[in-house]
Amino acid sequence: MTELKKWYELPIGCSNMEPGSSLNNITAGWRVFMPEIDKNKCTKCRLCWIFCPEGAMELDEEGFTKVNYTYCKGCGICANECPSKAITMKRMEV
């Protein structure tokens, strides 16, 4: 737990000077199911990449998508939309 800032340490005028700082908020804990991609079935169509609400589908050098599990909330859209059924939702192990 980081210490909360004092009033004079806050940015002026209810602004936030750190664009994209939501990256500090790890949302991995939100998920119950996690997507797993079967590279053998993936056609690199990028649908999961464009549909992922979390921006948690990243493109690797070869053009495959890979899941960023730090932010994946496990909504399952990727698996539901994958035309080649390359993504399956697995129950998280607790």
Binding site: W7, I12, G13, C14
Partner: protein
């Protein structure tokens, strides 16, 4: 060099805005403010002012649009009155919370019901604690100069607050009188453009208008509290620099014959101008009366006010607004609060007067001072808040 013109206060304000070279004006017409924005649209139409004039569909949008424009780094202006200001109420707090240097003029008018287009201070007083710097002026010249000072004050990086300049509807807004219009080149030297720490700019993509939870909201609000405490000193500096350049200063307040005054009239705006005539007449008869006119009303420079007010034996405080169901008018309750912890303090009487454009005459003001003297003789105040001039109302034995 200034050049002297016969201008209404509305026009005097428009000339000041033009000479401050504002970038965006968004406004909606409302009596008695309308001629400010008519004049400004004329200036834009004639190419005398290079600005975007946004003819919005409501006052709510007027203030919203200038909030947007100011956040994008523009120098902005809007003007309103009465119902228009009430409609803006929500955005007033947002503008100050966002610390945007918006300048707005208010041609003070009463609030409905009944519908009435005339002057009192009910509109601004109903929004007085919204985090804006608020100044009340008592002449067209002062309005003109205060607009110019307001940009200088609002845009100081240690201040960055919205400012509104209040002047009485009709009584000032529509009164033509001599105004020395400040030369544009001199005005622009006086109000140079200043870089702000928070503007919408793709080169530095910040977020403005965050959501905060209970853990941060109070700290953000306290920033505004703190910024307002810096205003009196900053305004003094701004006023001094204005004096240096233009040879006129106004201070944070005006005192008139206060030195040995036993009774002080306290009033904002145009009434305080008429009050000088009343004080002169009283002094001619040997009555020790004086006048205190706050110019900067929010934030209240508490110590400065107190130093003057505590010298008097009684205060006749004129409010042009009703605090329905409250103790007295807003100016009265402010002043009473200043003395809350003092054993020794002047007697305080509140006269709610000039509501809905009811004229406040020299004789009315003399009468108020006389009533305050009667209370002094008795040594107590029977009825602190008098609804002065209402037909059928008892003043409580005075």
């Amino acid at each position: 060099m200034a050049h002297r013109l016969a201008l209404s206060t509305n026009y005097a304000v428009a000339y000041a805005v033009k000479n401050c070279d504002v970038d965006v004006i968004a406004a909606y017409p409302i009596t008695p403010q309308t001629s400010v924005v008519e004049k400004l649209s004329e200036f834009v139409a004639d190419g005398e002012l290079d600005a975007e004039f946004v003819p919005v569909e409501s006052e709510h949008s007027a203030l919203s649009a200038v909030v947007g424009a100011s956040a994008a780094g523009a120098r902005v202006f809007t003007a309103t009155a009465s119902q228009g200001l009430a409609l803006m109420h929500e955005i007033l707090f947002i503008a100050s919370g966002m610390r945007l240097p918006i300048v707005m003029s208010i041609a003070n008018r009463t609030l409905s019901m009944p519908l009435n287009i005339h002057n009192d201070h009910q509109d601004m007083m109903s929004s007085r604690d919204c985090g804006w710097v608020q100044m009340y002026v008592s002449s067209a010249q002062e309005a003109h100069d205060t607009i110019i000072q307001s940009y200088r004050l609002a845009e100081r990086t240690d201040i960055l607050l919205p400012v509104c300049v209040c002047y009485d509807g009709y009584v000032l807004s529509h009164t033509y009188e001599p105004v020395d219009v400040r030369e544009k080149s001199e005005v622009l030297e006086y109000v140079p453009r200043v870089d702000r720490p928070h503007v919408l700019d793709p080169d530095k993509p910040i977020t403005i208008g965050v959501m905060a939870l209970p853990n941060y909201t109070y700290e953000f609000k306290y920033q505004l509290v703190d910024a307002l405490t810096k205003v009196p000193k900053a305004l003094e500096e701004v006023d001094k620099e204005f004096d240096k350049r233009f040879g006129v200063s106004y201070g944070l307040y005006e005192e008139y014959m206060t030195e040995d005054a036993e009774v002080l009239l306290v009033a904002l705006g145009a009434v305080a101008s008429t009050a000088k005539v009343a004080i002169n007449r009283l002094r001619e008869k040997g009555v020790k009366a004086g006048l205190f006119r706050p110019r900067l009303y929010r934030p209240i420079p508490v110590d400065l006010w107190k130093r003057i007010l505590e010298k008097a034996k009684a205060l006749a405080i004129v409010d042009r607004a009703i605090a329905f169901g409250g103790v007295g008018g807003p100016l009265f309750t402010d002043i009473a609060t200043i003395f809350a912890n003092d054993r020794e303090k002047p007697l305080m009487m509140n006269f709610i007067a000039g509501i809905g454009g009811r004229d406040v005459t020299v004789n009315n003001l003399i009468d108020m001072v006389n009533i305050a003297f009667k209370a002094l003789e008795k040594g107590r105040v029977e009825k602190p808040c008098i609804y002065y001039g209402v037909r059928g109302v008892d003043y409580g034995g005075y």
